[in-house]
Amino acid sequence: MTYSIPWAALFGGMLLGLSAAILMLFSGKIAGISGIIGGILTPKNHEFTWRALFLAGMICSAFIIAPLGFALPEISDQNLFVIMIAGILVGFGTRLGNGCTSGHGIIGMGRFSKRSIYATSLFMVTAIAVVLIRRFLGDI
């Protein structure tokens, strides 16, 4: 079996990059999702409505591209307690570290920001380690 380029992943990724570029070029904002959610929790002047519209656009995109044959995957078989712990860790960690996969991984890395390069390397390594540990422990 030969390896083929995952075109959907590449094209989807390019849309993420385009979105981040448009948002920054036209209105100076950073398309970091944890940052946008965080700004909704503690709103400042002129910083609330565009964030709400961005998040609304994200949520509605599932309906917009559904006619093109893209559907959300079936998510089941998940331990809700593990999901809850993971959610708290992701929320706490992204706020403390000022960004997630988008803010650090795309915008920060694209800007060659030293902080984002450190953060991205670190969360990748930690996530890989956690997956490895769970593999040894068996699925919890």
């Binding site: 995952p6 959907a8 992943a9 590449l10 094209f11 989807g12 990724g13 390019m14 849309l15 993420l16 990059g17 385009l18 979105s19 981040a20 570029a21 920054m24 070029l25 036209f26 100076g28 904002k29 950073i30 398309a31 999702i33 959610i37 929790l41 519209l53 961005f54 998040l55 609304a56 994200m58 949520i59 995109s61 599932a62 591209i65 893209f70 998510i75 089941s76 809700l80 999901i83 712990i85 993971a86 959610g87 708290i88 860790l89 992701v90 929320g91 706490f92 960690g93 992204t94 706020r95 403390l96 570290g97 988008s102 650090h104 991984g105 795309i106 030293k114 902080r115 670190l122 997956v131």
Partner: protein, 157 residues
């Protein structure tokens, strides 16, 4: 002023739609795929590396050629990024904790928001927990847990 505001809101909505579409089309919304991508010592599925690759392929040249030379954004707003280069303990601790949560469930904030329309209880549970985690972090950063916080002042965002 009106132009600035309208463009800010319009850009927000359009970028949000593009971002959510990118998350769904790329497969980032599937936690099993994310875990398979992180499972480099097992049956590694490297396809999601193309997501970050594709994003950087588009964003990086636009940033360096079109955005960086500008003094302000097209609508007149200031650029929100800072040129902070300081790698501090808070950044490293935050990235580590985030990575642990990401590896545990295969969800990060972008894919979860993009999946809300599906109405899955898993997604809603994660989303609510994420908000709780952020509120706890805000309290921590504001020094409410001073007995464990090594930081003396509120961090300016």
């Amino acid at each position: 002023m009106l132009y600035t505001q309208i463009l800010r809101l319009l850009t927000g909505a359009i970028s949000g739609i593009l971002f959510g579409s990118g998350m769904i089309i790329s497969g980032m919304v599937d936690p099993n795929k994310v875990i398979a991508f992180l499972d480099i010592f097992g049956e590694w599925d490297p396809s999601l590396a193309f997501v970050m690759g594709g994003a950087l392929l588009v964003f990086t040249p636009i940033y360096h050629c079109l955005i960086k030379p500008r003094k302000q954004a097209i609508n007149g707003d200031a650029f929100a990024y800072t040129n902070n280069q300081k790698v501090d303990r808070k950044l490293l601790l935050g990235a580590t904790i985030f990575g642990a949560g990401w590896g545990l469930a295969g969800f990060c904030p972008g894919p979860v928001v993009s999946s809300i329309a599906g109405g899955s209880e898993v997604i809603l549970t994660f989303m609510l927990s994420l908000l709780v985690g952020m509120v706890i972090a805000n309290q921590y950063l504001a020094g409410r847990f001073r007995f464990v916080s090594p930081y003396q002042t509120v961090d300016p965002q």
